[in-house]
């Protein structure tokens, strides 16, 4: 204790100091703004159609809590090992790490966490039974995601699928070299373990009617996806060596090895076209891709296009078929017209325009069409259809009471990831309807379904980060099968992370908008007004002593704090 009333000047300290507590000074009364811990949406999750909580999982991996991260990822997304292989990963395009050494390999992390969690112990605990029953029409990714989440919420869920096994396009349209069947089977087994019943070989509209379903179940979700190939609409299309790409792919993927012409044109620029071309290559056919726009406009996942090119597949861009050339009953070529790009169309891509007199023949013995698919919705009443889509509103509700819809038949988004996200959203709507008897104004955004609070109105981009805390670290390379080996095998092309690689990559993650207890706020607070919580995650701010200086907000590397006006 310092003597402040000494008898002589020499016994007074050199300068004023006090070893009394300063807690008495309630500096908090000065403030007109106050900091609050507020997680925001990272740029990656903002763009994730499946709504994965990427930053939180990355933080768990970085801390070495790999199982917790895998459990979190699988808690609402039943297909992480699948998406970790087939997702076009838009998340990485806006990853804030791009400014500091290259995007985080989020896609590879999803696969790593998915592959880690095939054991039922990774499933969330199922809520007590609600006694409600839901039918899901279509066992593709949208239907699986909806069924999984509803089953976990305590509802009885039955998925009806017309194929011999569930999975939809995952099984019939995505080749093994991208998604090994074993991976899909294990994920579906987990969905069954979560309480979902799959009834396969049952086609709604043929084996059972919609009305019967509506009687037997409390809710019906339509998620049948797109399976019907659109025709080319050119002369000669009815020749037996002109194949429907969706059907041909399904046959090949189910193990059939049909007698096929030696060299075949694959018409289209989407994922089906790429999958068909690359699958044909692997069974000894020489594919030639014919696409009416340029590489830039291709709807296929760019990596798939690059991989196809690396495998040596021939591409003819700005080329549109005009006639299948048939001589002596045999296909000898595909007559095409050269195109040039005109003004942008409603999709934003430049419209292809034929170049007059530019007809030429691509010499092939057969043709596969892969120019897009549409849905088969005949089982629905007229009012529930809107052209090739289901007439569902922003709530994912159809005009038929108790009938909901999700996936490509609603959005036409065309990716497995979007289907999973919409499955999650429709499950939330149906759950509200079944448990509360009410419907929301619109289906919640998929990130709104997270079990931690996040300000969805604020997305964290690189401008919101404090760059002083981040140094450049390069993105790791992932193993990839040699292109020459790929040409003759359906073995998986892309490799995955080892445990050490996953942890190293997660440590590179900036954990945008998400408190990861880095403690900068704690260290910088000049009023010692921030304290760690005892057992719980995060920090508390002592309002009596925080004077609202905002240093913690400024020094938070990742924008996980916000300054709020104090309302008097």
């Amino acid at each position: 204790m310092v003597e402040l009333n000494p008898k002589y000047l020499e016994d007074l300290p050199l300068t004023s100091y006090s070893d009394n507590s300063t807690e008495l000074l309630r500096t908090g009364t000065w403030k007109y703004v106050q900091p609050t811990y507020e997680d925001k949406l990272p740029a990656c999750s903002h763009l994730c159609p499946a709504g994965n909580d990427i930053s939180k999982a990355m933080d768990l991996v970085a801390r070495g809590q790999l199982d917790a991260a895998a459990r979190l990822w699988r808690s609402a997304n039943p297909l992480p090992a699948t998406l970790g292989r087939v997702c076009p990963h838009p998340c990485e395009s806006e990853c804030n790490r791009n400014a500091f050494g290259g995007a985080i390999a989020i896609h590879a992390m999803e696969r790593f966490l998915g592959d880690r969690s095939f054991d039922p112990a990774f499933l969330p605990e199922r809520a007590p039974s609600t006694g409600k029953k839901v039918a899901v029409v279509g066992g593709g990714p949208a239907g699986i995601a909806a069924a999984y989440n509803l089953a976990l919420a305590g509802h009885g869920v039955e998925v009806l699928d017309d194929k011999p096994a569930p999975g939809g396009y995952l099984r019939t349209g995505i080749p093994d070299y991208r998604l090994p069947r074993e991976i899909l089977d294990r994920e579906i087994a987990l969905v069954e373990h979560a309480g979902v019943t799959f009834t396969c070989g049952t086609r709604v509209g043929r084996d059972v009617g919609l009305d019967e379903l509506r009687e037997r179940f409390d809710a019906v979700i339509v998620a049948v996806g797109f399976h019907r190939a659109r025709p080319l609409g050119v002369p000669g299309e009815d020749h037996p060596h002109v194949f429907n790409g969706v059907e041909l792919l399904e046959r090949i993927l189910l193990g059939e090895r049909p007698e096929l012409p030696r060299r075949m044109a694959v018409v289209g620029g989407g994922n089906t076209a790429m999958d068909v071309a690359r699958s044909l290559l692997r069974i000894g056919v020489e594919p030639v891709v014919v696409y009416r726009r340029s590489k830039l406009e291709m709807p296929a996942i760019p990596a798939e296009v690059d991989e196809a090119m690396a495998e040596g597949i021939e591409f003819n861009f700005l080329t549109a078929p005009s006639r299948v050339v048939v001589e002596d009953g045999r296909v000898t070529g595909l007559e095409c017209v050269k195109m040039k790009l005109g003004e942008p169309d409603e999709s934003g891509r430049r419209r292809p325009v034929p170049v007059e007199g530019s007809e030429f023949v691509v010499p092939v013995d057969g043709v596969v069409t892969a120019i897009g698919e549409s849905a088969d919705l005949e089982f629905l009443p007229e009012a529930a259809r809107d052209g090739w889509r289901v007439a569902a509103d922003a709530r994912l509700v159809t005009p038929e009471e108790g009938v909901f819809a999700a996936g490509d038949v609603v959005s036409g988004a065309g990716t497995v990831t979007a289907a999973v996200g919409e499955g999650r959203r429709v499950a939330a709507v149906v759950h509200t309807w079944l448990t509360r008897g009410s419907l929301p104004d619109e289906a919640p955004p998929v990130q709104g379904l997270w079990d931690r609070p996040v300000n969805l109105d604020r997305t964290v981009y690189v401008e919101q980060l404090n760059p002083a805390y981040f140094t450049e670290v390069p993105r790791p390379e992932l193993p990839e099968l040699d292109p020459v080996e790929r040409r003759s095998s359906f073995a998986e092309v892309m490799g995955g992370f080892t445990e050490a690689e996953a942890v190293a990559e997660a440590r590179r993650c900036l954990v945008c908008g998400t408190c990861n207890e880095c403690c900068n706020c704690l260290y910088f607070c000049p009023d010692v007004a921030i304290a760690r919580r005892g057992d719980a995650f995060g920090f508390d701010i002592d309002a009596d002593h925080c004077k609202g200086c905002g240093i913690c907000v400024e020094e938070c590397p990742r924008d996980a704090l916000s300054l709020m006006e104090v309302k008097s």
Binding site: L9, L12, L14, S16
Partner: protein, 400 residues
């Protein structure tokens, strides 16, 4: 070891020799090359220290204050506007009794914007409790920075070591750089008696009520009094070690001098040959150079100037409304002399904003005072003539 150094380089060499542990600084012309050189030393490893880059001079001194409170030997450097921006913390450093050493390269204050020398930046900090030493050569810079640490750490007050912009900061000279072993013997590691102690947490600079505030201030004033003796003692000790003794002031040809020029910094170097020439011409001229300005060696100055006939005080500064600052200080020091020993004082304000003060100027000032051509107590030297004082003071020129 002999080296050719400019004044700024001499500061850096001295900071290295003093083994400063924390340097917290922000660049400003003409000081920048001091901290650049120190940063290079830290980066090369020739100085083991933390170099803290900050976003302003206010933070630069805050960094030093924090580090010094923790017991580290600290250094910063600045000029003019930078020093002015530090002002609040200049008080904190002195009131906290922290032995920080700051090199200020004297630069005129804006506006009008100037990068050239005069003393108003440092003299505006006269009453903050810092000690101030004005240097005339790169050699004196090296020697004074090392001495400043020793004195500061004895009396627990911070010191400004001051050098003229460009005339000293950027002029190369032959310098004897002392050996590290010698400096280490001269300047032991800092043992701050009131350093922060994790075992005994305390709030620094807390509220002090009127019943005690004065006592803390009196302690600072007493420390300045003690410091006068310490500067003399340390200057003598340095002389024994290096052959270059230093005092509070420097006298040149003061034996029998009846006309004395009082000035500081590099102008003193310009003045010596002028004094010699006047002596040769039969004028009994001498030079008194101010070195340690705070604490102010009033007694010493009184002893030197008492009984001289005329004293010309050259101020490269001005306290607007009450003439040059050295002039004020000397006048107050001489007040205690008996009436018959009071010299006639002529204040000259010259060289502001970096204007040259040439040997001819100095000759003109001394000759003018000696011959009686200069009669005014204060003269603005070598400026435009004034016809109407009021008009000159407040009238805006049309179109100006």
């Amino acid at each position: 070891m002999r080296k050719v150094l400019k004044g700024n380089g001499a500061v850096a060499e001295a900071v290295r020799l003093a083994r400063a542990e924390v340097i917290s600084a922000y660049p400003i012309t003409p000081q920048t090359s001091i901290i650049e050189e120190i940063a290079s030393m830290v980066s090369r490893g020739s100085l083991e220290a933390q170099f803290i880059k900050v976003e302003s001079e206010h933070s630069a001194l805050a960094g030093c204050i924090a580090a010094a409170s923790a017991g580290a030997r600290t250094f910063t450097a600045t000029s003019a506007q930078g020093l002015a921006l530090m002002h609040e913390l200049i008080h904190w450093a002195a009131g906290g009794r922290l032995p920080i050493v700051l090199a200020d390269v004297n630069r005129a204050m804006a506006p009008g914007w100037s990068i050239w020398t005069d003393q108003n930046d440092t003299l505006s900090q006269r009453d903050t409790g810092w000690m101030q030493v004005y240097c005339q050569s790169s050699q004196e810079v090296v020697d004074s920075v090392v001495q400043a640490y020793k004195v500061s750490e004895r009396v627990l007050l911070p010191t400004m070591v001051v050098l003229d912009a460009f005339f000293l900061s950027h002029t190369y000279e032959d310098v004897e750089v002392p050996e590290q072993v010698m400096v280490d013997r001269f300047l032991p590691p800092l043992e701050l008696p009131h350093r922060m102690d994790m075992e005994r947490p305390a709030a620094l600079g807390n509220l002090v009520f009127p019943d005690r505030y004065m006592e803390f201030r009196e302690k600072m004033d007493l420390a300045h009094g003690v410091a006068l003796g310490v500067w003399e003692e340390v200057g003598r000790e340095w002389g024994e070690l290096t052959g270059r003794p230093y005092g509070l002031v420097e006298e040149y040809r003061m034996d029998g001098a009846e006309l004395v020029l009082v000035t500081a910094a590099t102008t003193a170097s310009t003045a010596r040959p002028v004094i010699d020439a006047l002596r040769e011409a039969g004028v009994p001229a001498g030079l008194l150079r101010l070195r340690v300005f705070r604490p102010f060696p009033a007694e010493r100055i009184r002893a030197i100037l008492g009984g001289r006939k005329k004293v010309v005080i050259l101020d490269r500064n001005c306290s607007f409304g009450h003439h040059g600052i050295f002039h004020q200080e000397i006048k107050s020091a001489l007040y205690e002399l008996p009436h018959g020993e009071q010299p006639v004082l002529h204040g000259i304000i010259a060289g502001l904003g970096g204007r040259d003060i040439t040997p001819d100027d100095l000759h003109g000032m001394l000759d003018g005072a000696w011959s009686g051509k200069i009669t005014a107590p204060v003269t603005w030297w070598d400026v435009l003539p004034v016809k109407d004082r009021e008009r000159a003071a407040v009238t805006m020129v049309e179109g100006g």
